[in-house]
Symmetry: C2
Subunit: 455 residues, 2 copies
């Protein structure tokens, strides 16, 4: 790995900028051409804007397109880089990019910009883009490339190999060759490996696997990722409802999907966007403030509830000592249930929801009993007060049971309503459980109050 840390990248950016600024365009191009596409992208994006202009004026369209194809930054930032180029040049670059990346950029642009580029693109490409940008952001259609290898059934191995050689530089993946009928319907798949190991005169049909696994253009990307991960495919074909082959999704895009989904779930649990780890302190704080304030308001409800029991606390200040223990433990159980519930929703299937709920009910009951009995015994030994021990043990068990159930069921309800269950984040659930736990605690404690006051 010749560029496995930021320092080396910094050095490369510096030395390449220097070459450009001192007018050594040719040396720049030579050094730059030696980089991998991903590295070119990193350097290009990191160059000072003024130097970047010299850079793109020096490079040919193919190289620029390959850089834009391999920029591992947010689409909106790629759009910013693209808009540094004159519109006509931008359109030339877009046209040379892979269709899935080209469509992603168009989707990330303001409408007026899209219109400009669609007018500048060749008619055929513009028409294809109009089709592709219609697919919802999170569907297979939005992820697919239209540069794939498809051949008609009935061709011979030698002919297919000839076609592979012709299209190899265009297609995004040449590992699988898709076999279609005269109507462009997908009927099977052959691997380049099979092609290479069978005689030239054999019919492609004989080495075509007709049990081809495909996904629909409207399928959610998460489901596609699961299929590709399970089957260990390098790419998967995308079809419409009539089995027409529309495009392919390659495993490198799947890697990004899995990464993004994981970061999304993780961010949801913590109620903070962890994908931008290099934010400034100011931006990072500003992003976290809204959720903290929402939760502060929810927390004030809990405060008001505790406040309404001020009389009980005045009589038995010891009650205050156990508030944090009960809300904290219930909150922890809730966070665990929440994580399990969201994970089940993201990997599971519909029919198991009822079963899972019953399973969670039982699991929560066992946890509640274990924690309730433990804390009851501890309080008994510590404070030598039966009634206080019973009140705390009972409250703890009830609070954990309710917190677990709420945390397990809320994501399911949100999901059923058609929203992303990950909006039910950990801090929200914890704060909500604080409210229910405090309520349970003081209601139970009040029943025992007459017995243990003063003891």
């Amino acid at each position: 790995m010749e560029m496995d840390n930021e320092q080396q990248l910094d050095e490369t950016v510096h030395s390449l900028s220097d070459l450009l600024e001192s007018g050594q365009d040719e040396e720049f191009i030579n050094a730059f051409d030696n980089l991998h596409d991903f590295e070119m992208g990193k350097v290009y994006a990191a160059l000072p804007a003024r130097v970047r202009e010299v850079a793109w004026r020096t490079m040919d369209d193919e190289t620029l397109a390959s850089i834009f194809d391999n920029l591992e930054i947010e689409d909106s930032d790629v759009v910013d880089l693209l808009s540094e180029l004159p519109p006509k040049k931008g359109a030339d670059i877009l046209e040379r990019m892979y269709a899935d990346n080209e469509a992603d950029l168009l989707q990330a642009m303001p409408a007026r910009m899209v219109a400009t580029y669609l007018q500048l693109l060749p008619a055929e490409d513009a028409q294809e883009m109009r089709k592709l940008i219609k697919y919802d952001d999170q569907t297979a259609g939005a992820l697919m490339a239209t540069e794939y290898l498809a051949v008609q059934k009935g061709m011979r191995v030698a002919e297919v190999l000839e076609k592979v050689k012709e299209q190899a530089s265009e297609a995004e993946s040449i590992i699988y060759i898709y076999v279609i009928d005269a109507d462009q319907r997908l009927i099977g798949v052959a691997s380049l490996r099979d092609l290479l190991t069978h005689p030239d005169e054999m019919l492609i049909d004989e080495i075509t696997n007709t049990r081809v696994v495909s996904v629909g253009a409207e399928d959610p990307q998460g489901d596609v990722a699961q299929v590709v991960a399970d089957y260990n495919f390098f790419s998967i074909p995308v079809i419409d409802k009539e089995q027409h082959l529309l495009g392919i999704i390659t495993v490198d895009d799947i890697v990004d999907v899995i990464d993004e989904e994981a970061v999304g779930e993780y961010s949801g649990l913590a109620a903070v966007d962890v994908s931008q780890t290099d934010d400034t302190p100011w931006h990072s704080a500003i992003k976290r403030i809204p959720w903290l304030l929402v939760l502060l308001v929810l927390g004030l409800t809990t405060t008001a509830l505790v406040g309404s029991f001020e009389g009980s606390i005045r009589q038995a200040p010891v009650l205050a000592a156990f508030i944090t223990l009960i809300t904290g433990t219930a909150g922890n159980a809730g966070t665990q249930s929440l994580a399990l519930s969201i994970r089940r929703l993201s990997v599971g299937n519909d029919k198991s929801i009822a079963k899972n709920f019953f399973s969670e009910l039982l699991s929560a009951a066992i946890l509640a009993l274990a924690a309730g009995i433990t804390i009851g015994l501890v309080v008994l030994l510590w404070r030598q007060n039966n009634d206080l021990a019973a009140a705390i043990g009972l409250s703890m068990a009830a609070a954990i049971f309710l917190a677990s159930l709420l945390s397990a069921i809320i994501p399911v309800i949100i999901d059923k309503l058609g929203y992303d269950p990950a909006v039910a984040n950990g801090p929200f659930i914890t704060t909500l459980c604080d409210l229910t736990s405090v309520g349970i605690y003081f209601i139970i404690a009040q029943q025992f109050l007459t017995y243990f006051v003063g003891s």
Copy 2:
């Protein structure tokens, strides 16, 4: 997708079991052969043990090895399936599997079993395995396959293509051809695509890219995954310190690594293992009990601390009402800092730790000020008590600031000590923050106590 949900799989298992039980072995084989490797694995693992025995007696070793290569279950469960076979048969299957999977299984076995299989394996394979199983679980070495395509420099394109055809059925990936020198040192890579599009008589050296990106056998798998994801590679070569080519890692294994890492981080944040979503309620509860009890004990420290302020609470019961609000909000801020800190550690580089800490310090200060002022104003309007408002606002700000800092720095310390920072889970941090928040709150409140009691 012909088997995209469990119901269809159940049906397939049933109909295939029926075929075997009624003695229709040939029909079974035909139906089974039509499945994809991954589906075969799912069916094979789901068959009743009695029927599975009929199944493996019916199948040839190649098919069985391919099933074992594609089982998407825990390695220890695969070992269980393997030990259903007679040892000699088991060794035959192991030998036919890809080296990375074979080594994974050996690593998941008890020592005595490993010894048995190593004796039964052909000497050459056993020797290779002895090398492979030495690599640590989480390193590139443990992930690599040794079935790769390598050719000596100086060969002609036609010769290389001939070699590709010969080895195509053995090698795990034929997308890249690695070019080595006489000492087996990696000097470059060529793609099958380039091979197909260049004239037969050309030297391979001319289409070899010598800027080959590789990883070391001891590199952590997470780093390898990052490189493969960034560069969009289908596979990456693994080398030793002297540049000798040891094996390759293919992107399908990387997909699994990314998945596992994400599940691990997510599980860590919630202090619950979310990878086993189909546990029984009993097992699920048993697994969650230890952490809950540890946290209960930590929580009791907080209880004791609040208890020591019983006098203050008796004087001003209103103090109790704000305990949950302050601990809750500080806990939420802590969870966010924790998630950001762990994520930074998993994607970032060393030199940025000091910078990140300073950045977190600033960000925490902004958050603390915002929440402190907000809650101070709310209390002022609600209770019309300047001193109470000051005490609550000040406590809130200090508690949030300390919680954010602790949560950001604890994972870094754990990481520096050489442990996995994810052991600092969300509930632990929240419970720890409860303790610090309560301490801060009551110390500050006591200073103001004389002013606002009775008001």
